[in-house]
Symmetry: C2
Subunit: 358 residues, 2 copies
């Protein structure tokens, strides 16, 4: 573990004592910030923002200038890998991501290249380098990727989906073809995260946005197994103590025990999971990250503080909790409400770390 | 319990021995059947179909003529109660249900009447009477309602929602106002289900379609507590042995223990829950109903049979399992695939009931 001015996030992720509960917010660099909207406007498109390292660096740092957060997270999109694989990513206003060339056949999957991240995804590593230099050891930088399952969902559906009909048809009818796709994606994600680590990130997070649409058995076979393969690839080069890893499956609250056995140091949980029960279920094996309902940030600062208090009390005393939302911060949340959340965690959490050695 | 030619469903719901696992399908009377689409066309609108007892009866019976199912379920909609409360229900093609007068203020909620089901919902009881007479004791008829929480979601949002922003704002900012609404709805739902029982249904089911968007603590306070109040009202008049009750919270797999303590005889589970683990968690307290992924019915009959086999083996030996989908059957499923599902349950389930006394 690198020496950092603020190592609260990394220590909590390794379940080591901290003086308080660290906090960051999923999508903390995002549309709810007027300064982000200005840069996004200037960039012209969302992908231009992602692919211009100086701009990606600028928006990554914006929330840190405004709020006392405990970690930075690389500004990028989970769909950079499918784009680098040649699917042609576009963001259509109001409709979300779409691929010009979604995967339609087993031959499409067979022909899919595993991209060299230093080549087609070099812009991401350049952004990581710039951010690392700008942070100058003040706090950790989190790198990330979509999980193989979640990337496969977008690649087969062609974009966002409400029912995941195409990928489920593939899963039920041609499971071997889907496994072939997931194997390629696990390799691509592993290489991508290794490149991010080598460019300077201090921790990694795998976002499994759509694991929750699966049955329990399917989750283990089609999502968790490949998130595990990704980590295995990373671990042959970077031990957990140097680069701890987080896995977040939205809607995965029923499968925490299996997730806790997957090798990741921390698990993200959404707001539907009781954090106290989650801790009892996974014991001391992993840290837990979460889990305020993003909708709670529409409420008054007093209501936000009450929810923070409830979650901190639910987790209880000791290390191993990273405060976060249960999903990304919403675009129309008032920045003052995010400030109220962070203030509440700073004020209320030290009581749960009394006797901490730091 | 009434004497019925086929009492397999009712016995399984009371965890009594049966020779095989009973099966019915949520939305079994629905758009996937060409004979349903003909009657729906004739009725002119979905609400005309619901409010014309002869037509509601006809479509209720259609799947029973085609498939060897073990229960009939009243054809109706969960939004009949808000409609009877004066909100003005409309079904807009391609957009789902919408209310002309959604609840906007605490005064709207205060002014809301609790409808006498024999008056404004008489068409439902008339349909129940016709169906009961047509069934003539062949198999049980299930009555149903939406849960107070789920009805409140539609009434406050004004229709379907992706983010439940309005009702969550009410929950975080004015919880007492929301409790007032839920209390009224619990009373209305209780009266409605009692009227259905008095008109002839043999079991009742409460559909909590949107309980899964809540946090664990919110689920208990805003959804489960009121589903419990509904049942308390029913139970002062109709004991569980006479009219067993089912509770289905979509996305409620994390809260099965709490649901199992709510007084309902059976719990519906969606496909994300491992049915074997669910059984271990709730023990012998309740029956379990589910839980094939509705998307699995797009797969081949062989793949469907494999999934049925996996679910039956997951639940294991003994009574207390009612086979069903994990959510409603989808409109474009081929009827032959529903037939394959039912056939698989008939063929494969007796092995799990060897030694049954019936």
């Amino acid at each position: 573990m690198k020496t950092l001015d603020n190592d609260c996030f990394l220590k909590a992720l390794l379940c080591q004592p901290t003086p308080r509960t660290p906090i960051w917010m999923m999508r903390q660099a995002g549309r709810y910030l007027p300064e982000y909207r200005r840069v996004r406007e200037q960039a012209g498109s969302f992908m231009a923002l992602c692919t211009t390292p100086e701009l990606a660096c600028e928006v990554t740092l914006q929330p840190l200038a405004r709020f006392p957060l405990d970690a930075a997270i690389l500004f990028s999109d989970i769909l950079t890998i499918p784009d680098a694989m040649g699917l042609g990513l576009e963001f259509v206003e109001g409709e979300g991501p779409q691929f010009q060339k979604p995967l339609r056949t087993a031959a499409d999957i067979e022909a899919l290249p595993v991209p060299d991240p230093h080549d087609s995804l070099g812009y991401v590593m350049d952004a990581v380098g710039l951010i690392r230099d700008s942070l100058a050891g003040r706090m950790p930088l989190i790198g990330f990727s979509g999980s193989p399952w979640t990337l496969a969902c977008y690649m087969v559906e062609g974009g966002s989906s409400r029912d995941f009909r195409k990928i489920k048809a593939l899963m039920y009818e041609q499971p071997h073809t889907l496994h072939r796709l997931l194997g390629k994606l696990a390799e691509a994600v592993g290489l991508y995260l290794r490149a991010q680590i080598e460019a300077g990130v201090d921790a990694i997070m795998v976002f499994d946005t759509w694991g929750g649409v699966l049955s329990a058995a399917q989750y283990r076979a089609f999502s968790l197994a490949y998130a595990g393969q990704v980590l295995d690839q990373v671990r042959t080069h970077h031990p957990a103590t140097a680069i701890p890893a987080l896995l977040f499956t939205k809607g995965g609250g029923q499968w925490l025990e299996a997730m806790a056995d997957s090798g990741y140091q921390g698990l993200g949980i959404d707001w539907t999971t009781d954090i106290g029960e989650a801790r009892r279920r996974v014991g001391h094996r992993v840290a837990l990250q979460g889990n305020l309902d993003p909708m709670a940030l529409y409420a008054s600062p007093d209501a936000i503080t009450a929810e923070v208090s409830r979650i901190l009390a639910g987790f209880g005393h000791g290390s191993g909790h990273i405060f976060n939302l249960g999903h990304g911060i919403l675009p129309d949340v008032k920045p003052e409400h995010a400030a109220a959340l962070i203030e509440a965690v700073h004020t209320l959490s030290p009581a749960y770390h009394a006797g901490s050695t730091t």
